[in-house]
Each structure stands twice: as structure tokens, then as C-alpha cells.
């Protein structure tokens, strides 16, 4: 029985807009490998050049952070689901948005 990986909105452009992908494997690492095999564009968002999971991408097995399990070696059971939870900063405009402040804008990389 395949497992499901939930894909967050910012990464859906790399899974042909699918919000979840069916994958198979015996460990969290194998499920992720199957995912990036199916959707190669995700690879650089999930892994560093050295092949390590990126620090700002959190992976949950059901509701538990894999950092507190056995990370990618965590075994998975049929029906378990994985969630990729990237950091998202949006607040839909407003304060603190340094990029909107004219004088702050001038002395940075033109970052919007």
C-alpha cells in the first residue's frame, strides 16, 4: 500500500500542482527519494547539493517531526503519511515589511 506525501502550496509548482503524491518505500528517506524521482524539480528545494535535507524544510511523519524520530531512517507503515512543511513568511502586507519602506529599500539589494 502506497504512502501519501502532502505537498505544501509553495512546492506544488514542482509536482504538477498536485497537493499530495503517492509514494512507496520502507523509510521516510525512501519515500522522499521516490518523490524526487517522480518530481525531479523538487530535489533542489528539499536537498542541499550534498544531498542533505535542507534546514528550513521540515518533514513530519503523521504529526511528528522526523527530527525527533529517526530522521530519514524512520520506518514507515502502510497508511502513514508524510508532510513537508516549509517556512512561509506571508502576512499579506504590512509593517515590518522592510521591503516596502522606501529608505530601507534604497540600501538593500532592491529586494521586494
Amino acid at each position: 500500500m502506497p504512502n501519501t506525501i502532502h505537498i505544501p502550496t509553495p512546492l506544488r509548482p514542482f509536482t504538477d500542482k498536485q497537493e499530495s503524491v503517492e509514494v512507496s518505500g520502507g523509510t521516510v528517506g525512501e519515500l522522499l527519494a521516490d518523490l524526487t524521482k517522480k518530481h525531479d524539480g523538487l530535489r533542489k528545494h528539499l536537498y542541499t547539493d550534498e544531498g542533505k535535507l535542507r534546514n528550513f524544510v521540515n518533514v513530519y511523519l503523521n504529526d511528528e517531526d522526523i527530527r525527533y524520530l529517526q530522521r530519514e531512517a524512520t520506518p514507515v507503515k502502510p497508511g502513514d503519511s508524510l508532510s513537508i512543511v516549509p517556512s512561509v513568511a506571508g502576512g499579506a502586507g504590512g509593517a515590518g515589511d522592510i521591503s516596502q519602506k522606501p529608505q530601507a529599500k534604497a540600501d538593500r539589494w532592491g529586494l521586494a
Binding site: 528550513f56 504529526d63 512543511v85 512561509v88 513568511a89 502576512g91 509593517a95 515590518g96 539589494w109 521586494a112
Partner: protein, 399 residues
Amino acid sequence: MITEMENKKAHVEELPQLTPDEIKRYSRHLIMPEVGMDGQRRLKAGSVLCIGAGGLGSPAAMYLAAAGIGRIGIVDFDVVDFSNLQRQLLHGTKDVGRSKNESAKSRINDLNPHVHVDTYETLLDSQNALGLFKDYDVILDGTDNFPTRYLVNDACVLTGKPNAYGSIFRFEGQASVFATKDGPCYRCLYPEPPPPGLVPSCAEGGVLGVLPGIIGVIQATETIKLITGIGEPLIGRFMIYDALRMKFRELKLRKDPECPVCGTNPTVTKLIDYEQFCGLRPEPQQAQGGTSVSDWEITPVELKTKMDAGETPFVLDVREPNEYQINKIAGSTLIPLGELPRRYQELPRDREIVAQCKMGGRSAKAMEFLKSVGFTNVKNLRGGILEWIDKVDPSQPKY
């Protein structure tokens, strides 16, 4: 929970009394034993600092005001824009062009004149954050960029103030309560920010207008629970809401003993330069290097002058196709930033390339990327298509 609030609970008799007008106004709270007179008085004694009067800050501040929070602070420096009105309900059509702080203050005063509103017309930064936070019970993070997210988190940990956190992107929202005494902080969850450009902002990625309504009201709910001490606050739990599927999922969060801010041996003990931390500004030594701004940046007017003089720079638009439908620089080529790593071979090596997006952020990343793969003649269009429209081609619509 936090000591200050425990103290408050212990001294009910010191809480402010409600006036007859307030008793009438809050009667639906007062008849619920979980809130009751004591809870309502705690709300009256309570204060919340909203970082941002935008998409999240709007519903949060409005509901908190209506609920009878005694004091609401708002940190914002922006002015109301037409593109805000799709979701920022603190502001109305008549407020376009007005300071968001003023607009927010008058809306809140109208909703509930018993609420004291303090506004701070400033950018929240490492110099002012601790001073601003110390006078409030709860900090409500409604900002929309990573440097400020980390700044708010660290300042909350350092001042011991809980952070009612919310974040949104397109159709998806996240919420939690960070930085309580025993609970995890934002850095326990995300020790490091993503590199710039990898995660688009709402201005670039869009957001469903009703989404901040849901998430901002979750933040307000958690604020009320923290202040009144009722229920189970969203501590150590991370809510993820998907508007398209109409699903809430809850993930477990743990306090990381290795956390650089709230762990057992913190390495961050004062506020830092968060733009630098998030990779948005080069290291100081780099900034003092030989390259001046003009070497990698071009203004819309300079670009137009070049075009009029018969030069043919290759204008590379790195926005998304739906943005390109709204407006464009004539003759530009669209390759969305995310596709650039596999499509950069399509670009000419023998022409000057001018990278362009909506406001200059994504195109700066595109420029850095192109330099990293050997392109030398690349410039970033300052201010993006918006500045192009302002300065060169006002016939096109802005978004």
C-alpha cells in the same frame, strides 16, 4: 504559562472594573463562565502589540478590539493601497493613501471606543523591538517577510512575551503560539531561513483574500486565551490550514534544547542583523568591495534610454505567466525564476541581460544566479515593472 500572567490571575481584585456601558457591550462574554466578569476584566487589563496592520493584523486587531482588549499597539509604516483592500479590512476605500496606523486607529475606535490604541509609525528593527515589546502582554506577528519573523521571535524570547504567530501563502496558512516559557519558539521549528528567492512573498505569490481572515482570527483567539488563561493554547502545536481542501492539520512542535535562542545554551542573546541573517544583504566586507550599485543595477529610465538609442538589451522577465499577462515590457522574454536553473541556456551570452520582476526582488536572485553560472553582463532592473510603469510606461496597469 508566563509569570506575569500568573501574577495577574492571582490578583483579581487589582483588575480594572467594568463600567455599566462595558457590561452591556460584553454581555455575551460575561454570561459564559469560562470568561465571566474576571475574564473580561483580564481582557481589559490586557495588551497586545500587532506587528503589522495588514492581512493578518486587520482581522486580529478588529476582533481583539471588539472583544474588549484594553490596549492595542500597532507597528506599521505603510500607507493604504488599493491592492490591500481585498483582505485588509481595517482599511476602507476612503483610506487609500492614508497611513495604515491612522486608518487602523479610527476603525478600532469606531468598533470599540473603550480600547486604547497606540500606534508606532516605524519599521520594527533590532534597535526598537525590545523596547516596544516590553510594555505588552502578547505580541501578534502579522508580518510578511523572514527577517522580521526572526526578529519578532527572538525579541519575544528575549523579553519573555508569547508570540501569537500566523503566516499565509496563497491558499495555505500556519498558526501557532511561540516563545512561551516552556514552549518552543519559531527557531525550534525553523532554525534557519530559506535562502532569498526560494520562497516567494505574498506580493509575488498572491494570497486568497479570506485566508488571512481565518489565520488572523486564530491569532486573536490564542491571544484572548493567553490573556484570560482559559482553554488549551496552541503551544507546542502547529496548525496548518488548507483553504482549497478546507482542511486543518495539527503537527506536534517541540522545544529544541539546542535552539540558538531559547535552548539550554543560547548563542543568540541579543538581537542581530536579521536581513543579513536571512541573506538579504551581503556581508559588510562584500558591500565595501569594488562593485558599485550602478554595476549591477539599471533604472527604468536608463533602460528606456538604451532602447531608444538602438541598443538591444535582452529583457528577462522572471515573474510567473499570470503576472506577465497583466503587464510587461515590450520585447521581454518570460522565464519564471523557478525555471531559470534549467532554462538559462536559452539566454544569449553575447548580449546585455536585464533581469526584471514585479519589484526587483526575484530578478535580483535571477541576476545572482546568472552570475553564478558565468553570465557577466547582467543587470537588475531597479524597482521592477512597477517602477517601469511609474517612470516610463504609465499606460499599463499595476497590481
